[in-house]
Structure formats: structure tokens, C-alpha cells
Subunit: 137 residues, 4 copies
């Protein structure tokens, strides 16, 4: 089970990476039930990225894969075309990553929004790595 | 902070430009928090453009850029494909423009809908110019 | 048919009455189709009253009566108990008044929110009187 | 303007008070535009309180008063009966408190949910006091 303490460390790690990239991010963490566990909007971050970060985290947990992978399948003509209409709205571009425990089970997800999708993904990944490091230690 | 008086002058300016272009527009102004500040639907304007004008204004403030710029990134295969599913529905074609104060800070946005996207954008721009002129004076 | 010009005069009259009462109001006008025609949020008015003013105007037009009259019927044990769950949310306390033309036909409604329900109703009434005066003239 | 750093200190203070009261809380902070700034759900806290805490914070900012004060006016027969149907859902029992700056202006709100309304309010108040102490210092 993902704890609030772990989520807060992940957000701190994500914020640090956001600062390295000179970006301002919305960062959301959901638990195994895809329910919001922790959230932070950095000063000056896009207001519209608030909802996107939460939707990315939910989307990543809903399907246990990176949001960008869903987006590849959701293009016109693709097998999951317009899947974004489900679940009250999905976001299917990069920035959402499942969170796994030491046994590889998905216990939640992180969603990041506020810059390019490359930066969003990199900041989400930085958050995930914080937990991975803690689980190994 | 954007005042109602400023918003009303912007709507008046936008309406004047809409008349010049022989169009009938819905015009919405939101504040820095993306909350509606003022709205006007010109007689005979499309009913469906009511919601579009408000969503354009919100979208422009959500991401501090013209709605058309978001649309370029949101095409199939693009990095923000289907971003419109966030925030209760975005509109990503032209007609929404952020409103800035004399220091260049975004203090709200205007959204216009009722004609071609070129006309919508031109009318929104006319509204923004009213405020710019006032801020300079 | 209610025109934008008439709606704007009604809003101006309502704002004047709001100032007399030393209140800050959200003022919404809907047309015969219960669709928003014009809106103004006075500087410093409650943010939550934005949606309430629009819902009051819609509610008054939905049933062609003052919102407070609906509220009397919507109390626990009353015939319309919890009618507020319909139509995406109604507001059934005072502040919404139907707008009638010279023939007495309902052509829209005004909704006001931002103070006590007595003040809200008084400001809505001031808006309606502006139109009545114009129709007589 | 309320900063993320201030919001995080408020959440830390609220969590400390929640522990003192032996409760598990959802804690939400919104900014002046009623948009989510930071959120934390303590381990084991009620899942349904997630949304309630956010709605309490929004409600307190929407009307610049404690949520419990709105609830007193929203009882059957009261002037604001069923106001909760507005704004996508309000929560009108205690646990939401406006956040003010040193000049007394409302710059956001805190919402807490997870225990009795007395405890919810006490934990929200603990969060507000953290900011008050910082503003004085």
C-alpha cells in the first residue's frame, strides 16, 4: 500500500526535478484505488494542468501503463480510438506512470503536467525513482 | 486584477469589431482564476457558441496562451492529442486569448465564438486591444 | 424576444440598485430558451454566487415563477421536495425573477446572488423594472 | 497570493493536529480562484472524505466564510436551503475555513474531512493558525 509519507517524498523528488528543468508543475499521486492521495501545484504552474495531472495519474493506474502508451493506441484508426471519453475523461499523452512496489505490483500512479510532455514524463519518472530507491534501501 | 469595468469595455470593443465584420458573437471574459467575470451574446448569435466562448476563455487562461496554439499541439499524432477531455471540456481552436496587465502578467482571458475561427480571433483581439490602450493611457 | 441591449440595461439597473444597498452582486440574464444572454460579476462579489445567479435565472425561466415561490414548494414534506436535483441543479431561494414583455409573456429571466436573499431579490426586481419602464415608454 | 510552500506548512500543521486528536484526515487547500493548490490524505482516512475536503475548501472560498456558517442558513426553511446544488456541489457543514493574508483579504481556503465536524473544524483551524503565525513573524 502506498503511504502518504511515500507520496510526499515522491512529490518532493518530482518538484526537485521540475526545478532542474526550470519548469512549474502540477503533481498528483493516486493510490491503488485510483483515488487522489497527494497533490501539489507549484507556484505559477498552469491552472489547466491541475486537472490534467490528476487525470494522468488516474489513467496510468486505470490501465497499469504509462499514459503515453495508451495514447499510441488511441490515435485515429487505432484500437482504442477515443478511449478518453471513458471514466469521466482520460489523458493519454505522456506524464502519467504507474507506481510499483518491490514485488512489481502496481500500488498507485503519479501524474505530472505543466510543460512539454517530455518534461512532464521526466518529472514523473523522477518521482517514481524516489520510491524505487526507498524500496531498495 | 481584472475589473468588471475593464471587462465591460473589452466586450464593447469586441462587439464593435463583430459589427464591422458583420458577425454575431458570444463574448466571455474570465478572471485570473478562470472564473466568469462578464458575458454577452449578441442578438441572433449561435446558441452553441455560448458554451464555446466560455470554454475558449477558460482554456486560454488555463494555459496562458491563445487557444489556437493549443489546437496545433492537440492534433492526432501531436503531443497533446485529446487534451480537450480535461477540465470539463476545453476548446482548442482560435478565439481565446489571454489578457495581460501592463507588467505582462496574465490576469484573465477573453473567448469569442460565433463565426469563422479567423473572425472569432479577430474579435477577441479587438477586445484585448481595448484594455491594452487603457493600460497605456 | 429579449435583446442583448435590453439585458445590458437590466444589468446596469441591477448594478445601480446593488450599489444603493452596498452589496456586490453576480447578475445573470437568460433568454426565453433559458440560455445565458448576459452576465456581470461586480468586483469583490462572492465567487460561489456566479453559478447561483445563473441557476436562479434558469430556474425562474424553467418554471416561469420567482425562485422563492419554488422554494416554498420544495421544503421537506412539500410537493416539490428536492426538485433542485433536476436540470443539472436548481436554486430555489429568492433572487430569480421571470422577465415578461408588454403582453405578459415570459421572454427570459434574471438571477441575482451575492447578499441576503432579500437583497438578491430586490436587485433582481430593480433589473426587471428597467425593462418594464422601457416597454411602457 | 497563497504559495505552495505556505500551503504545505498548513497541511503539516493540520496533520499534526489530526494526530493529536487521534484522527485520520483529508486536507485540501485552494487558492484565491478556488482552484486546488495542495492536498494530502492521511493513511487510513475515509475515501469519501477526499471529495468532501476539497468541496469544503471551495465552499469556504466561494462565500468567504466558514462552511458551518453556510450550513446554518441552508437548513430546511432557511434562506439558503439546498444551496449545495450549486457550483457542482457544495459542502455546508464545518471543516472549511477561509485563509486570509495579513491585510485580512481572503487568499484561499482550507477544507478538512475525516472525523466529527468538530474535529474537522479544529484541524482546519490548526492549519490556518500556522499561516497566521508565519504572517506575523
Amino acid at each position: 500500500m502506498l503511504t502518504l509519507s511515500q507520496a510526499e517524498k515522491m512529490i518532493a523528488g518530482a518538484k526537485a526535478q521540475a526545478a532542474v528543468l526550470d519548469t512549474k508543475m502540477n503533481i498528483a499521486i493516486v493510490d491503488a484505488g485510483a483515488n487522489l492521495l497527494a497533490f501539489a501545484r507549484m507556484d505559477g504552474a498552469w491552472l489547466g494542468s491541475l486537472d490534467i495531472s490528476i487525470k494522468k495519474a488516474k489513467t496510468a493506474r486505470f490501465f497499469d501503463m504509462n499514459t503515453g502508451s495508451i495514447g499510441e493506441l488511441a490515435q485515429p484508426g487505432g484500437p482504442l480510438y477515443n478511449i478518453e471519453h471513458s471514466n469521466g475523461g482520460l489523458i493519454s499523452f505522456p506524464g502519467g506512470i504507474p507506481i510499483k512496489n518491490a514485488e512489481g505490483e502496481v500500488i498507485g500512479a503519479i501524474g505530472v503536467s505543466g510543460s512539454t510532455v517530455e518534461n512532464d514524463h521526466a518529472v514523473a519518472e523522477a518521482g517514481v525513482k524516489i520510491l524505487d530507491a526507498e524500496l531498495v534501501a
